[in-house]
Amino acid sequence: MSGIEGHQIHVRTQVLVVGSGAGGATTAALLAEAGFDVLIVEEGPWVDQDTVTPFSLDQMDRQYRSGGVTVALGLPSIAYTEGRCAGGGTEVNSGLYFRPPLDVVERWRRDFRIDGLDVDELESIADEVEQAINVTTVPGKPTPASEILRRGAAALNWRHSEIPRWMKYPAGGDAVTGKRQSMTRTYLPRAFAAGARMLVETRVDRLVDNGLNVTAHVTYGDGTGRMPGGAITAAHVFVCGGAIQTPALLQRSGMRSHIGRTLAVHPTVKLTAKFADEVNVPDDVPVHQVKEFAPDLSFGGSASHSGLVALALTDEWRTFSSAIEDWRRMSIYYAAITSEGRGWVQALPGFRDPLVTYRLSHRDREVLRSGLGRLALLTLEAGATEVYPSFRGAPVVRDRGDLATMQQRFAASKASVMTVHLCSTVPMGEHRDRCGADSFGKVHGADRVWVNDASLLPTAPGVNPQATVMAFAIRNARRFIEQQQSQQSHRSSGATQNGAQA
């Protein structure tokens, strides 16, 4: 049901899902399939994958928040990216799949007192997710940049493997032929088929619970001009905006306890390595990762088109600039760490976007240093002729002696540190001194508001978190369905009526 009153557009739904990424799309699909009336709102646009070049500036413009220029302030500041489009981060990430790490899950259960967390259940959900998003290895050849990681790790006898992706490949196809099985191709169509509706380019500014239901105050449009506001009234709201937007929305709505105080990320440092042959693949990322030092430290490859190579060289442009002419022989690699540091997400009155900060610990800085050193060693072993580390004052590394100079000059505060895996701003569990939401994602102290995205993961899991986010989202959505259905049957037998039921 919807109607227009003046400039205000009012919409009603039974369940409102805010955000359409790994958490929101799965939540919406499961609830819609269980018969709930579901409306998804997504701040970004719907972008068809075939209309955009992966990892290009154009993609960043269309599918990332703020064109990919978002920063957690600190010393150093850490650049991060968020998907802002239908499908969220699943449309733009590397697509590298890791099952939920069970040792980590077990630690979460214990340390955050997560009730009813059944590892077998999570495992079986993971199986289901792998089917749904078609997790598979490359049938044909990996890219040269990926092969470099494999070769370097093999030479050093370091543990490495090809990470499967949520991709569909033509028979025998090479890495670059994959079609990403993101949310716009999997769970969102499932949600639509089951009757869910979706509003794109609709931002939720605030949630107000009036005791019977929740009203979401929204702004329509892409944010570039004066746009009409509106309201969506729902019996239940699932906030799935990712680890930055979710806590910011809750804070703007007056929910603040243990919300936005424990941002966790995987900080990464990077380098660009030059080889004798043309190794650059502009529109794909390597599928190999090196896990010898995991979970503390992992190595992988980054998107490396010419613009990103130039970007990686800017920290020391005066000495590195001549290398840009050889960008076809270059590829960018990263060292990612699990961090002891913590960040804050703080909604500020009068500002549309929250303030984000992050502080690295002493140990984090040391692990970043050794990570960059070990990564540089790996690329040398794989045959790199020159290595250009991304930090101010970095030397060009050509041999092992140069590695000493590089590690000596390194300081995390001089490095281009970035991250993608943002988590943990609304940790789940019954530990009320640490957790913003309960064991199934319902915000502590709220009656009708759930969180169901990466914000719930109590810490950064040490691997790409998409599968873990999806598994928890599905688990929590099923619990919600069970509860509602049991209340429903209770109500029908008790003949009480609740006005919130649309």
């Binding site: 269309r62 064109g67 010419s306 130039a310 060289l313 800017t314 840009i324």
Partner: protein, 132 residues
């Protein structure tokens, strides 16, 4: 809070910085790169946007002073906390745009195959995106 358009503040600084870094870059290309940088600054998250606008205003003021060439060179070469981050931001945006759009650009900004007429790439116009 609605953000202040950054073009009058960021544009002239980006122009001077990129002209200094890439003396042989065709002015038309430089303008495109500046337009890109300005657009990204406009799209920054609001807190960052405010910070950048404040620093940009300071730099805009400095560029109006006598001896501004030396000031520019100083900031282009000296990584200062906070203020230096602004230089780094503008530089990063400009470099990424220039080398993604014209991958064969040389380190001085010159191009082996200067196109007589540049068609503005799709990227240079704000994209409204499709809708479901």
């Amino acid at each position: 809070m609605r953000s202040v358009p950054s073009a009058p503040l960021v544009g002239p600084f980006a122009d001077r910085l990129l002209a200094l870094d890439f003396p042989a870059l065709e002015p038309a290309r430089r303008e495109q790169a500046i337009a890109f940088a300005v657009r990204r600054v406009d799209g920054l998250p609001s807190v960052m946007n405010l910070g950048v606008i404040l620093i940009a205003a300071l730099f805009r003021g400095l560029l109006a002073l006598p001896g501004n060439e030396a000031i520019l060179r100083f900031f282009a070469r000296t990584p200062l906390p906070l203020l230096g981050e602004y230089v780094r931001l503008v530089r990063s945006l400009g470099y990424a745009y220039i080398f993604e759009t014209w991958p064969d650009t040389r380190p001085d900004g010159s191009s082996p195959t200067p196109a007589p007429v540049e068609a503005a790439p799709a990227d240079a116009v704000p994209n409204m995106g499709g809708t479901a």
